[in-house]
């Protein structure tokens, strides 16, 4: 069983125990404060002669979505991205609701996954996807295509896209003074260190990913992260037919002690990978095990690319400081259990931008921290149930091999499949039928008890 060592988590403040107890009654507290703060922002000064200027650092889904919303809201937006053709290592899965909410053209989606196969440690294989309606699917995209599309749309809406690398920011000297952003402008020249440039902006959105420099600049604190390791493998055409619209998930201690191994179909090859938080040095071993488990299905394949990237496990202790806010991976908005981040990155970018547009009244007023806190409040309220449910699922079902066996057994149930896909595709935690929920709870406990009983017997051998 994976032993979980919990570091005492008190964020950045060395707070005493009283603060801990007070944070548990969270839902009521921020609202109290917000009442004060809303009044404060109404009194922030009107800007004369120009619009509000906002810098978006990072041009991935979060940055692109934020820049587009800001530009549409009439705000002077500058997006800084260091590598315009970056093919980000990524699973590349987007839920159905993202296509609708972000008006994505269907040709961005390389594949529509309508079936998934979950494979337990003892190779019990369960097909899920029977409950999907004909128009429902999980979209597989290439990050370079998606990111470029969102950036181009932001540019069309009026944002300025700059090819450069964010270096540091100077904090404002008084309450409404601008931030000074220091960056190296590449201007499309590859390999050069770029020319040092600065610009003054009123607010900054940090959308620069898991190793965010903006986060470092505002002392946002660290998060625990998983290492996701992936090999892109070109497999023979006849084997590729099997993965036409099917993705696989392998669970087991051999594949990962706290995550899962996957085979995701991409445009013309498959991505085979795994990840871990607690046993990072063994990632290569886990990758070998994943390839072994999928061996018969990817035999004859050639590895065309190897990539790895950190994935945050939880939000940073501080997601916002004065007029700088973090969104996407920089903030740590990756769900547990599935490790999904693209949709949440784009949505948080958009939500943060909307809060800035609203707080600045379309760029005519200065914003302050309270406006950005509105974004945090809205985000936490909307998506907290989703994150919490996935956290519980991970804690219960990724604990140990018996738990994973029970997990795969549960996935065979139609009700589970329907609930899982509904909440994944539409990003809402649907309550469902209470009687069915009760039956599901009983079955889950039964599966867990059986699997653990078998494991105790295994220990006796």
């Amino acid at each position: 069983m994976a032993s979980i060592t919990l570091k005492s988590f008190i964020g950045l403040r060395q707070s005493s125990l009283e603060n801990h107890h007070s944070t548990i009654t969270l839902p009521s507290k921020p609202l109290q404060y917000l009442r004060h703060n809303i009044i404060a922002s109404k009194s922030s000064p009107k800007i004369t002669g120009r619009n509000l200027r906002v810098a978006v650092i990072g041009g991935g889904p979060a940055g692109g979505a934020a820049a587009e919303t800001l530009a549409k809201g009439g705000i002077e937006t500058i997006l800084i991205e260091r590598k315009m053709d970056n093919a980000k290592p990524c699973g590349g899965a987007i839920p159905l609701c993202m296509v609708g909410e972000f008006d994505l053209p269907l040709d961005i989606i390389d594949r529509r996954v309508t079936k998934m196969k979950m494979i337990s440690p003892s190779n019990v294989a369960v097909d899920i996807g029977r409950t999907l309606k004909p128009h429902e699917y999980i979209g597989m995209v290439r990050r370079e295509v998606l990111d470029a599309y969102l950036r181009d749309r932001a540019r069309d809406a009026g944002a300025t896209i700059v090819n450069g690398l964010f270096v540091k920011m100077d904090k404002p000297i008084d309450k409404y003074a601008p931030y000074v952003v220091h960056y190296n402008a590449y201007d499309g020249k590859a390999g050069s260190t770029g020319t040092k440039m600065t610009m003054e902006v009123d607010a900054i959105i940090g959308a620069d990913g898991a190793n965010s420099r903006v986060a470092k600049s505002i002392d946002a604190g660290d998060y625990e992260y998983a290492i996701a390791f992936q090999e892109r493998i070109k497999i023979p055409d006849d084997k590729m037919v099997y993965y036409e619209n099917l993705a696989e998930m392998y669970v087991g201690d051999d594949v990962s002690p706290d995550f899962y191994g996957w085979v995701f179909p991409k445009c013309d090859h498959v991505a085979v990978g795994t990840g871990t938080v607690t046993h990072k040095p063994d990632i290569k071993k886990f990758q070998l095990a994943t390839r072994l488990r999928a061996r018969d299905k990817i035999q004859g394949g050639k590895i065309i690319r190897v990539e790895a990237h950190p994935i945050p496990e939880h939000p940073r202790p501080r997601r916002l400081s004065n007029r700088v806010a973090l969104v996407g991976d920089a903030a740590g908005y990756v769900t547990k259990c599935s490790g999904e981040g693209i949709y949440f990155a784009a949505k948080s970018g958009r939500m943060c931008a909307e809060a800035i547009v609203a707080g600045s009244e379309n760029g005519t007023r200065m914003v302050d921290e309270s406006d950005l806190r509105n974004y945090l409040q809205k985000w936490d309220k909307t998506y907290w149930p989703t994150y919490k449910v996935l956290d519980i699922l991970q804690k219960v079902f990724y604990r140990s091999n018996p738990a994973r066996e029970a997990f795969v057994e549960m996935c065979a149930d139609e009700y589970v499949q329907k609930m899982t896909f509904d909440s994944y595709l539409y990003k809402t935690v649907v309550p469902g039928n209470p009687l069915d929920d009760l039956k599901l709870a009983v079955n889950t406990i039964g599966s867990l008890v059986r699997a653990n009983a078998l494991r105790n017997e295994m220990a006796k051998i």
Binding site: V124, G221, Y242
Partner: protein
């Protein structure tokens, strides 16, 4: 037949620890037979004799080659791809017809077989294959079989503990206060103590359980604390 009997008698429990590693790598069938406790060994011999005589013969042949080779052969197991094989494992699930005992299915044997399969796979992970999918579901084993095998012995243990604690506590309280058992049950404080005693026996079976419970409680709220960390700043301001 006699040589096979000799084979089994040589694998007495004293040899089991050393025998199992090498046996597992070569003879998928062996772990099932050699790892059973000794009292069952002769039973299983009889079973194979009745069933497929072929299985026994195969073992003898492999037996001689196994003794000849030692550690080096273990190295190319990965290439050999020793798969899990068992005559009772048919089409990705346990063939219940082969587990008949006195006309009814011997669920204990099914559980044992699945335990061995899982242990084998944990030590020798296999590739999952579409042509031979595994479809076994533990829920085909009826609930009363699980109860009889796992719950009842533990329930007996816990009830025994509770009864012992209860008897001595009742005697102790009676000797101190003179209040008999029936009157003790009427007292609120005694009822509370009884509740605590029952909960304690249920939840805390080993010393480690106390730590485990504390860790579990911390775990349930840990993620919440991580999310709320950003709001702690606001409180200070």
């Amino acid at each position: 037949m006699t040589s096979s009997m000799a084979f089994f008698s040589s694998t007495t429990p004293t040899n089991l620890p050393s025998f199992s590693p090498s046996s597992k790598t070569h003879f998928p069938i062996n772990p099932l037979l050699s790892l059973k406790p000794q009292r069952q060994v002769f039973g299983s011999v009889r079973a194979t004799e009745n069933g497929s005589g072929a299985a026994v013969v195969v073992e003898e042949k492999k037996d001689s080659t196994e003794e000849g080779n030692g550690a080096p052969v273990k190295a190319d197991v990965a290439e050999l791809g020793a798969k899990f094989e068992d005559p009772k494992w048919v089409s990705g699930t346990w063939d219940l017809k082969q587990f008949q005992k006195d006309g009814a299915t011997d669920w204990d044997a099914v559980i044992d077989a699945e335990v061995k399969r899982r242990k084998w796979l944990e030590d020798n992970p296999e590739s999952s294959n579409n042509d031979f999918p595994v479809v076994f579901d533990t829920s085909i084993i009826p609930w009363w079989a699980w109860m009889k095998r796992f719950h009842l012995p533990e329930a007996e243990l816990l009830n025994g503990r509770a009864a012992m604690v209860g008897f001595f506590m009742a005697y102790f309280v009676d000797s101190l206060t003179g209040v008999g058992l029936v009157d003790q049950m009427g007292n609120f404080f005694c009822k509370t103590l009884l509740f605590v005693a029952v909960a304690g026996v249920l939840l805390i079976r080993k010393n480690e359980d106390i730590d485990n419970l504390k860790k579990l409680i911390d775990e349930t709220t840990f993620y919440d604390k991580q999310w709320q960390a950003t709001w702690q700043d606001e409180k200070k301001e």
